[in-house]
């Protein structure tokens, strides 16, 4: 009876998860969708608590309480600007849970049940390697995003060969274990290699490539869960793992396409951070500078404004100041829109969440391909903490290392204001010809401070 109840509830949970994700295809239905998925989760967990193999609840309750106590603040209080860090951390927890389940299952089959089939061993092996590399890799990504570890790519000689060696040796151990499952030393060495692999895979990846890395880690976490599903003969785990793994992989592909880079290049290229070949004479070229009041005057006479937000907006927490400017300009009859580059920020959709948080209606957030044809008709384009995603070199200079990356054609607007702290180069470490164009005015300062300054000048003038 219990078994039927369990299967039925897992089946319903799977259906609810798929329905929930389909809700996310539209902003209107998204909330309801996630609610449905939540119901599915509750159903699956409650049914599992009646599982015949569970004899003591003491440790389960402790785990649930600890998890809830940490989960609630992670859900409710983390500021939206910290979303990439938060997502990286939750991938780490996901990977850890799966890896530990794998290790515990192996241990108990080895000592209690005594049966280790080839199939079980293979699935557990994948589960543990993927889970452990997701755990340490995500912690590394978290550290880099948080600034605990340098965001610059860290490389050493023969790094790719070294990583390749770890991958090959863990695979060899996995195959060996399939045929000799009782050699527990091999199992634990394999698990350790998985943990090391996560560290060394993320070490050489620079800050600007984080969107791709976070998506890939999402994918690994999903695949690890799917492997757990194979090992435990649990279909809902296979389904969720496949959905999660597929979603992460798809997003990673979208992200790397938006940077015109291949996976190989992102993972093994150690791109971004250090000085390359194409940005020498930065200081010598003349630039035109504007003070906030000049910007204010120009904006007063503009009928359409496009704002290009970037990671700098998140760092300066400038999204609420953006909304204030938005409201004042709209009152003045100016049309305000936002041009969102797919890799602006540190994770997919980062900018959209920040602007939504500041109460900016989502139909004002326009994707790159849609806004580009409109930009020549725009009076003013405000580049706010973005750099590489508006770099014309990507379009015009075949020698540039970012050549071919699709960009927002900010330089096509009648006037471009670049709000920036200094003339330092972007995360790709490349000079940006946009700064020296005739129709560009540099506005130096912290994004939030500059915007607040413009806003107060606008209020005075009104």
């Amino acid at each position: 009876m219990n078994l039927i109840l369990l299967s039925v509830s897992y089946f319903l949970a799977s259906v609810l998860f798929v329905l929930g994700l389909s809700g996310l295809t539209k902003p209107k239905t998204a909330r309801r969708g996630v609610g449905l998925a939540g119901v599915g989760m509750l159903l699956a967990v409650l049914a599992t608590l009646l599982h015949q193999d569970i004899i003591t609840y003491q440790w389960i309750i402790i785990g649930l309480i600890v998890g809830t106590l940490i989960g609630i603040p992670m859900g409710l209080w983390i500021p939206m600007t910290k979303m990439p860090e938060r997502i990286a951390l939750s991938h780490a927890f996901g990977g850890l849970a799966v890896a530990l389940v794998g290790i515990a299952k192996y241990w108990s089959h080895l000592h209690v049940d005594g049966e280790l089939s080839k199939f079980f061993m293979g699935a557990i092996g994948f589960e543990v390697v993927l889970g452990s590399l997701t755990f340490t890799g995500s912690l590394m990504a978290f550290g880099k995003l948080q600034g605990v570890i340098s965001g610059k790519p860290m490389t050493f000689k023969g790094q790719n060969q070294f990583n390749f060696l770890i991958v090959v040796s863990s695979l060899v151990l996995l195959v060996y274990l399939v045929f000799h499952p009782h050699l527990s030393t091999a199992f634990f060495v394999m698990a350790c290699l998985g943990f090391c692999l996560g560290i060394f895979l993320v070490l050489p990846i620079g800050g600007a490539d984080m969107p791709v890395v976070i998506c890939l880690l999402n994918s690994y976490a999903g695949l690890a869960a799917a492997a757990a599903g194979f090992a435990l003969d649990n279909n809902v785990l296979i389904i969720c793992g496949a959905l999660d793994g597929g979603s992460g992989f798809l997003l990673a592909m979208l992200m790397s396409r938006a940077m015109n880079r291949s996976f190989r290049n992102v993972l093994f290229g150690a791109f971004g951070g250090e000085v390359g070949g194409d940005q020498v004479a930065t200081q010598n070229k003349p630039i035109l500078q504007f003070a906030p009041e000049d910007v204010m005057e120009y904006l007063q006479g503009s009928s359409s404004v496009v704002i290009v937000p970037g990671y700098g907006m998140a760092v300066a927490q400038a999204q609420h100041a953006v909304r204030e400017l938005h409201e004042l300009l709209e009152k003045n009859g100016t049309e305000v829109r936002y041009a969102i580059h797919p890799v602006a920020g540190r994770m997919p959709g980062h900018m959209n969440v920040l602007l939504a948080e500041a109460n900016i209606p989502y139909e004002k957030l326009i994707e790159m391909d849609e806004i580009n044809p409109d930009l020549p008709k725009v009076d003013a384009c405000i580049v706010l903490g973005a750099n590489d995603v508006v770099n014309p070199s990507a379009r015009d200079d075949p020698k540039s290392s970012i050549y071919g990356m699709p960009i927002i054609n900010a330089d096509a607007a009648r006037m471009v204001f670049v709000v920036k702290r200094s003339m330092a180069s972007g995360f790709a470490g490349i000079d940006n010809p946009l700064f020296y164009k005739d129709n560009t005015r540099m506005v130096f300062g912290d994004a939030k401070a500059v915007l607040q300054n413009i806003v107060s000048k606008l209020k005075e003038a009104a």
Partner: protein, 96 residues
Amino acid sequence: MPEKLIFGFYIFTLSIFVGYQIISKVPALLHTPLMSATNAISGISLVASLVVAGGKYGHLSTMLGTIAVASATINVVGGFLITDRMLKMFKKGPKS
């Protein structure tokens, strides 16, 4: 055992197809909530952790299982809460 493997791959492959179809239709606007939602959903590994933590498989299993339960619960609770919190913020503007 091979039937189990083939059946598992059935489910895995079909889920990948379904997931691909759905997720490629999610607008870039909602990519962050999508990530946190899939994250919350993959907290389903909680069901496996529960059985490990509550079963009679020895101390090591109980200990690892309890940590796994806590980690997975963080993702389930935190994941659903933050996704809902984010989606609440996406509003349509006044009709113009």
